[in-house]
């Protein structure tokens, strides 16, 4: 279907079903139960899952296929965000132009940075992209304040021109919408204590994520994708066979940058605010973490990694020591305090520590990330089955 093999089609359909049912699946606990805070099915977080999913898919096209580790990918996300907000300010509050323009602007920005950075490879490429991203961040936060809003950030205002929308006389700042469907609109369904929120913005972002995912599958399976993999395994040999790899690399870099810009555009479509901190190198580091954690070079890995990190960030960081005491209150007093003291540094404000440890663990023991973990588990199961099958005839 759609030019995909059977396996890829079923993967795409599985992802589509998960995206469609996420508001239900991510709310496994009833609203008033003690575990309700582990529910991730609220619009803001779900939007972030899919948006960072797009960002990580794009990063994976570059790093997973070609092995070029960019440490400055957040620059494209930031550039896309700024472009998106300007579209919302100047043209129309409809999100379509904002998303399109942010992708295009990030793409142009990627052509510029990629053309220079791709002259080098390996660690030099990482440093060059890092230098460009830090430069963009420093400029956005200081000199470019008229364009970027400086440290306060750029947001929509009441007296923006919005030439396509006509005069705004409601007295409120209009909310981003898709032909009248506001991104913040939600349909809440309450079924026997479970509260499910179906958010318009989430589904818009989700559909775009599915399209992005589909395009990524096509890239992975195309001759172009094979060429990129060849660059990863031996660039020198490609050069010796008379191929110029640079156009392929540049195309890949630009596609990857456009994915980041698309994510930035969606981000401002959900919440029309763009700040310079989106470009900082820690933000670039975050997408690297997501991709590695999920599984580099796999299709679904980056999306899983993005979901996991955003889940940790939002859910784990909310747990505080009172709550821990409540959970472990079944233990004897002394033991309860002990357990809470042990666990406390890893949750709440300390969730970064857990993230760092998890990340190190993945790199050391599971270079393929969560996807490899899944494969190993399923392999060990099927191995057992094979063993059983082999034993039967012997009897």
């Amino acid at each position: 279907m759609l030019g995909l093999s059977k396996k890829d089609t079923s993967l795409l359909i599985a992802v589509a079903v998960l995206v469609a049912l996420a508001p239900v699946l991510l709310n496994p606990f009833p609203e008033n139960s003690a575990l309700a805070q582990f529910n991730a099915g609220y619009p803001d977080l779900m939007q972030r899952f899919v948006i960072f999913g797009i960002f990580a898919i794009g990063f994976n096209i570059l790093f997973g296929l070609t092995g070029y580790l960019s440490f400055g990918h957040a620059a494209f996300l930031g550039a896309g965000s700024y472009a998106g907000v300007w579209m919302l300010k100047l043209l129309t509050i409809n999100v379509i132009p904002a998303i399109l323009i942010s992708t295009v602007v990030a793409g142009l920005f990627a052509i510029l940075i990629g053309y220079i950075s791709l002259r080098r490879s390996g660690i030099y490429f990482s440093i060059l992209t890092l230098a460009f991203a830090q430069m963009s961040f420093a400029l956005a936060a200081s000199v470019l304040t008229p364009i970027t809003g400086g440290e306060t950030g750029l947001q929509t205002a009441l007296n923006d021109p919005r030439i396509l929308d006509g005069v705004n006389d409601s007295g409120n700042i209009p909310a981003p919408n898709l032909f009248g469907l506001e991104m913040g609109d939600s349909l809440q369904v309450n079924v026997a204590g479970w509260l499910w929120t179906f958010n318009a913005g989430y589904y818009v972002a989700g559909i775009i994520m599915l399209i992005a995912f589909y395009v990524a599958i096509r890239i992975f399976r195309s001759p172009f994708g094979i060429m990129l993999r060849a660059i990863k395994s031996n660039q020198q040999r490609l050069n010796y066979t008379g191929l110029n790899t640079r156009p392929y690399m540049l195309a890949c870099f630009v596609i990857s940058g456009m994915y980041a810009g698309l994510a930035g555009g969606l981000m401002v479509a959900m919440d029309p605010l763009a700040g310079a901190e989106r470009m900082q190198w820690t933000a670039s580091g975050e997408v690297v973490l997501m991709t590695i954690l999920g599984g580099v070079g796999t299709l679904i890995g980056p999306v899983l990694g993005a979901g996991l990190i955003k889940y940790f960030e939002n859910i784990f960081s909310k747990i505080n020591s009172n709550l821990l005491h409540k959970w472990f209150s079944f233990l004897p007093d002394g033991l309860e305090d002990f357990v809470v003291t042990i666990i406390y540094p890893f949750i709440g404000k300390g969730w970064h520590l857990t993230l760092g440890l998890m990340f190190m663990g993945v790199i050391i023991f599971l270079p393929g990330g969560l996807v490899e973990l899944g494969q190993r588990i399923s392999r060990s199961f099927s191995k057992n089955k094979n063993d059983a099958a082999e034993q039967k005839p012997a009897e």
Binding site: F63, A131, V288, I363, I364
Partner: protein, 343 residues
């Protein structure tokens, strides 16, 4: 003229911090071939060695001082550090006052130990893995170290003053025969620069004039042959990792009075230090130092008011700009060796 000298001086102290971190990075890269993203965290740990020592020194017990009264007329409770009891009031206070320089003695064994543990426990397993994996695992380690420090010391900056004798500024202009008052410069920054130069000199002397250093240099040039000669080069490289960690740590210790340490100071320096290493040339020790000082001075010139008026924002980006230009025109960096990381 005085402006130029002042900017050079300003650049030298920051530049020497860059140079020290870059020196450690290059040592690790040249010996072990590992790109260590946790080096900034080592710098930060060094700074927190100074914080820890000053906290240990000021551990106090309360005594009731009968000679002083509080506003209710009761005898005043005074906190007296234990060092005062042991060494007497005057010596005790002097020890506390000099806690930052004393931290050097404290930080050297601590940082060497941390470095050796890090190399044996983690980095050793990554020699044969791709550079990307090394970058990523050390990046993860940096996050972990940073968060541990944050857990114990909090997220705020911790002021750690220099000894009384070095607080304040002196008239550098008068010293070199210019108008008095034209160049005023803080004492501690000069101390920092001299300290950095001594440390760099010590590392070079160690590599150049000792048998151990000679073996290490031989190992940097051709690890395999040195191994075949029956020398346990891995152990020496482990020690070099410890030394590199100590250099970064000492840079951090002495930097605390200039910039009060907080848990993410390492990351801020790391990004620039990598740029410094690449500009200097991967694997070249003199290159790292030259590039560190040059970029530090460049940065301080770019922060001059006159320059910012012409090119706004240049002070923020000048280092990166210089790196981009150098990488594109001199791919090996200023003093890069042939055959190191050329891909």
């Amino acid at each position: 003229m005085d402006q130029i000298i002042l900017q050079i001086l300003n650049g030298l102290d920051k530049g020497s911090a860059y140079a020290l971190i870059a020196l450690g990075l290059t040592l690790i890269f040249g010996t072990l071939g590992v790109v260590n993203f946790a080096h900034g965290a080592l710098f930060m740990l060094g700074a927190f060695c100074a914080v820890t020592l000053s906290r240990i020194l000021t551990i106090s017990h309360t005594v009731i001082d009968e000679t002083k009264k509080d506003f209710l007329g009761n005898p005043l409770k005074v906190e007296v550090p234990y060092v005062n009891d042991w060494f007497g009031e005057a010596t005790g206070q002097a020890i506390i006052d000099w806690s930052v320089p004393l931290s050097i003695l404290f930080a050297i064994p601590v940082m060497i130990a941390i470095g050796v543990i890090m190399e044996r426990g983690l980095i050793k397993h990554f020699y044969k893995r791709p550079h990307a994996d090394q970058i990523l695992v050390t990046f993860g380690l940096a996050i972990v170290l940073q968060e541990i420090v944050k857990y114990y010391y909090g997220a705020n900056q911790i002021p750690t003053p220099a000894p009384e004798a070095f607080i304040g500024s002196f008239d550098f202009g008068a010293l070199i025969g210019m108008d008095p008052g034209s160049i005023i410069y803080p004492y501690w920054r000069i101390v920092y620069f001299c300290f950095a130069m001594v440390l760099i000199g010590a590392v070079f002397a160690f590599l150049q004039f000792t048998t151990f250093g000679m073996v290490v240099r031989a190992g940097m040039a051709d690890r395999e042959t040195v191994g075949l000669l029956g020398i346990n080069i891995d152990r020496r490289f482990t020690v070099m990792f410890g030394i590199a960690a100590a250099v970064a740590g000492l840079a951090g210790v002495m930097y605390t009075p200039i910039n009060p340490p907080n848990y993410h100071m390492g990351m801020d320096f790391l990004v620039i230090s990598f740029v410094v290493v690449v500009v200097g040339g991967m694997g070249s020790l003199p290159g790292a130092i030259l590039a560190g000082l040059v970029l530090g001075i460049l940065e301080s010139f770019a922060s001059m008011r006159q320059v910012i008026e012409v090119l706004p924002g240049i002070n923020q980006v000048v280092i990166y700009l210089a790196a981009i230009i150098i990488l594109l025109t001199r791919p090996r960096g200023l003093m890069g060796r042939k055959g190191v990381m050329e891909d």
